[in-house]
């Protein structure tokens, strides 16, 4: 089982938004702001099928990173980038993602209300899960890139 450094776990638990970066077929990094959800083992993000290009990129190349950089969204000054392997889970786009609803609701309480109104925006709630297995973590304790990050490799633990 992968164990993230404790401050990085705290960042994941508090961050309202993180930047998921995927790699396109041409090798270009493409970054999407998303709500990171952490269950103590994997990092999850969800993507509506409306905005599913990122899922196509992940299916073609699972190497991704998730950065937590926004002090407004976290209320903290430290920052981290987690590199990992992503897997798209879309067996049931209609309801499969709802197993993460309790974690999502803690960050965005209104999501439960909006879900009850899914008739108004049905495609928004057809969603795939992105499950990230962390491989390497870069952590900036004071948030500044002027200092080298603390790098934690999780490969051996993951294996």
């Amino acid at each position: 089982m992968v164990t993230l450094p404790e401050p990085v776990e705290r960042l994941l638990e508090t961050a309202l938004v993180g930047e998921l970066t995927v790699v396109s077929a041409s090798g270009r990094p493409i970054t999407y702001p998303l709500i990171p959800l952490y269950d103590g083992r994997h990092i999850y993000l969800t993507s509506s099928t409306l905005f599913s290009r990122k899922l196509e990129h992940i299916n073609a190349n699972p190497r991704v990173s998730l950065s937590i950089t926004d002090p407004v969204a976290t209320g903290r000054s430290d920052r981290a980038t987690i590199q990992g392997d992503a897997r798209v889970i879309d067996e049931d786009p209609h309801g499969g993602w709802e197993r993460l609803l309790p974690i999502w609701e803690r960050k965005e309480p209104s999501i439960v209300y909006f879900l009850k109104q899914r008739v108004a925006l049905p495609l928004f709630f057809e969603r795939a899960l992105i499950e990230i297995t962390p491989r390497r973590v870069l952590y900036w304790a004071d948030g500044s890139a002027a200092a080298s990050p603390t790098v934690t490799s999780l490969e051996s633990e993951a294996a």
Partner: protein, 463 residues
């Protein structure tokens, strides 16, 4: 249809300057992306962004790197708003003094203050279809988005809009009752049959608007406008919708024939045939009334005199009178105004699809003025009807809805170019028609009560 807001590199840099920091991202030699927060000095005029090289990390200069700005405004206990993000790609080069310089080449982003979330979602519905198509191919079986049967029925048929039918039909029946004609079975059949007519029109409207590209061209639908969109979202197939429309038309025709057999009259036959032609021809070729700027007239005739007189003549076995006709005019105008206002947010998509509705044809000033004029005529006809003794005095209760009409008129101008702001106005406008109709129904209930309790009470001027 554009699904992702591509922007030019210079605009991307200009947007990046509004963020307190940027996220520098590249792909490392192991193939994983790396992101670092930097504070870049950005010069959109030269197309460059300069920043301190992050310590301990090698930023490549032989391939694309990106700078991303992202903003979100947390609303504690609720969620967030003010969402926007932008990414600028380019190559980085060493600038000296431990700094790097990115030369911007391409940019992409979204700002919900420029493209509202609902519009952004609508523009992206093609991407969702593409994703489900790929899933279907991969699994060898159709995979589609879903809604529960209840929600799907509600959305597909636009059931809540049935008030447009029920109000005039009940009013027509009530007027017939005050004239001494009432038959429960045919009254119920009239309500059911007329409801099927409207459901058929609602569904066939989506079928023909899809076939003619109007619904696909509309990227700013609201819950009151732009159709049900169940075909566009892949919730129901085009064929299923066409079958459903046919089923509703067939059910309406069967009930119409039963009514003809039970209460047959030449007047009912004419009303039925005209109703069918207007209903189907509303969007269907060759008439395509709504595409020719005749939608409001078609709706006014169909959901005003035809519905109300149709219900009346079923009860009276074909006897016609001026009273139900005059009573139908305000209802006809107010339901036409529902369509008229609902067409405002659709006008750009309608114009692209060649749907020449009144808001497509005329200026904002003319449309707002037209609304004022039509409501004045609706209330004017009501008062003239009462003064001339054609309508009962209690019908003046409908004047209680004047504040709603004023509220709509005042709301049109400031929200004319804001489809989502216009939703509240559309909602009030629908309530205006509903409440006006219900107050007329109440008026005739009072007439009936007065007949029963105090038969001599004069409720019509001059009678």
């Amino acid at each position: 249809m554009r699904t992702t807001p591509e922007i030019d590199a210079r605009t991307g840099l200009e947007k990046l300057t509004t963020y307190p920091f940027q996220v520098l991202t590249w792909v490392d030699p192991n193939g994983y992306p790396v992101s670092v927060a930097v504070e870049a000095e950005i010069d959109p005029a030269t197309g460059h962004a300069s920043f301190a090289a992050p310590a301990g990390l090698d930023v490549p200069t032989d391939r694309d790197v990106s700078l991303t700005g992202s903003h979100i405004h947390p609303q504690p206990g609720y969620g967030y708003d003010e969402r926007r993000h932008v990414t600028v790609w380019g190559h980085a080069a060493t600038e000296g003094l431990g700094r790097l310089r990115l030369t911007a080449e391409q940019a992409w982003g979204w700002d919900e203050s420029e493209v509202p979330f609902f519009e952004y979602s609508e523009r992206s519905s093609g991407q969702s279809r593409k994703y489900f198509d790929a899933l279907s191919r991969e699994r060898g079986t159709p995979v589609r988005p879903k809604l529960s049967l209840g929600w799907l029925t509600l959305r597909t048929t636009r059931l809540p809009f049935l008030t447009a039918t029920i109000v005039p039909v009940v009013l027509g029946i009530l007027i017939a009752v005050t004239h001494g004609a009432f038959d429960l079975l045919t009254a119920l059949l009239t309500v059911i049959g007329a409801s099927f007519v409207q459901l058929a029109i609602n569904v066939s409207n989506d079928v023909f608007d899809t076939a003619q590209g109007a619904d696909d061209a509309n990227v700013t639908p609201t819950k009151f406008s732009g159709g049900s969109r169940v075909i566009q979202y892949g919730l129901v197939t085009f064929r299923q919708m066409a079958t459903l429309a046919f089923g509703f038309f067939a059910a309406a025709a069967v009930i119409g024939l039963v009514l003809l057999v039970l209460r047959g009259s030449q007047a009912l036959l004419v009303i039925g045939v005209v109703g069918f032609v207007v209903g189907l021809g509303y969007t269907a070729p060759p008439l395509k009334l709504v595409y020719r700027g005749l939608g409001e007239i078609a709706v006014a005739v169909g959901f005003g005199p035809l519905m109300l007189l149709g219900a009346y003549v079923v009860q009276t076995r074909g006897a016609l009178a001026w009273e139900p006709f005059v009573a139908s005019i305000p209802i006809a105008l107010l339901i036409a105004l529902v369509l008229y206002v609902n067409e405002i947010p659709d006008r750009r998509g309608d114009a692209r699809a060649g749907k020449r509705t009144l808001p497509v044809r005329f200026s904002q000033e003319a449309i707002v003025g037209g609304y004022r004029l039509a409501t004045l005529v609706a209330y004017g006809v009501l008062m003239i009807g009462v003064v001339t003794g054609l309508l009962p005095i209690p019908a003046l209760l409908m004047l209680l809805t004047v504040p709603l009409a004023l509220q709509v008129e005042r709301g049109l101008r400031p929200n004319y170019d804001n489809p989502y702001g216009l939703m509240a106005v559309m909602n009030v406008n629908i309530r205006l028609h509903l409440f006006a109709g219900l107050l007329l129904v109440v008026a005739y209930v009072l007439v009936l009560a007065a007949h029963a309790v105090a038969p001599g009470l004069p409720l019509f001027i001059g009678r």
